[in-house]
């Protein structure tokens, strides 16, 4: 799965736009839905986390059902869905946590 382009946003990339490669992590229930724990994705530089999540919704429509209960992180910090992504970022989609 690594190396795919974030298709849904290709249309937003102007010819001069830079792209960003980000690492994506899935945990718990999400890992089982997506089928793997880690991915690498190219997307337009500055695209929001929301866009990255929508990208996975194309192949896994059932993800939409979990959107409201997920929190996203960027570089190991909880991050708003509007957070813009840049090359080298590590993004994770986190189901409700149940440690302890």
């Amino acid at each position: 799965m690594a190396g795919r382009t974030c298709a849904g946003y290709n249309s937003l990339v102007s010819l001069s736009s830079q792209t960003a490669r980000v690492k994506v992590l899935f945990f718990g229930r999400l890992k089982e839905i997506v089928g793997h724990a880690e991915d690498s994705v190219e997307l337009p530089d500055g695209a929001p986390i929301e866009a990255l999540f929508s990208h996975y919704g194309v192949n896994h429509p059932e993800l939409a059902r979990f959107r409201a209960s997920l929190v996203a992180s960027r570089n190991q910090e909880f991050a708003a869905w509007s957070t813009p992504l840049h090359s080298g970022d590590e993004v994770a989609f986190l189901p409700p946590v149940s440690g302890g």
Partner: protein, 158 residues
């Protein structure tokens, strides 16, 4: 001063947790109180018999969040040291999944800090528990970590 000599202990481990290691870590001659929390695997959940559990974590972020909790504790309570260990992988009934030890000169701070630590860990540390029952397995209902406010870029209506 003590913190630089013997800092808090924060760990994710795959082997059984030995409470004595954590208690020894926080215990010093100036302490009058040590409060510990031992979270262990129950044999039941929501009325069903549990067989075993499996824990997974976003390890790098979990350790950062555990360190944040330690920092918050030191800010909010006059404690000496804290040690937190969470186990990952398969855990059998009765085994310890998380152990927290807090030392302090006086007991109120030790109780309050230990309680704060486990309550906050359960809300903010990216760890997930899968519960195995006789008729299947489910990811435990969890708690949603506090999400950052969305800062929407204003867009012209088109």
């Amino acid at each position: 001063m003590n913190k630089s000599l013997q800092p808090d202990l924060l760990a994710l481990v795959r082997d059984p947790i030995d409470p004595r290691t954590l208690i020894a870590h926080v215990r010093a001659a100036e302490d009058g109180a040590i409060v510990t929390f031992d979270g262990c695997v129950r044999n039941h959940s929501h009325g069903r018999r549990t067989l075993f559990l499996d824990y997974e974590a976003y390890e790098s972020m979990a350790l950062l969040k555990m360190r944040e909790i330690a920092g918050q504790i030191h800010e909010q309570f006059p404690i000496h040291l804290v040690a937190i260990a969470h186990r990952l992988g398969r855990l059998e009934i009765g085994e310890t999944s998380v152990f927290i030890a807090v030392s302090s000169a006086h007991r109120p701070a030790a109780f309050e800090a230990c309680r704060f630590a486990i309550d906050t860990l359960k809300r903010t540390v990216p760890i997930w528990k899968k519960e195995y029952f006789e008729d299947g397995a489910v990811w435990a209902d969890g708690e949603m970590p506090p999400a950052p406010l969305e800062t929407r870029t204003a867009k012209p209506a088109s």
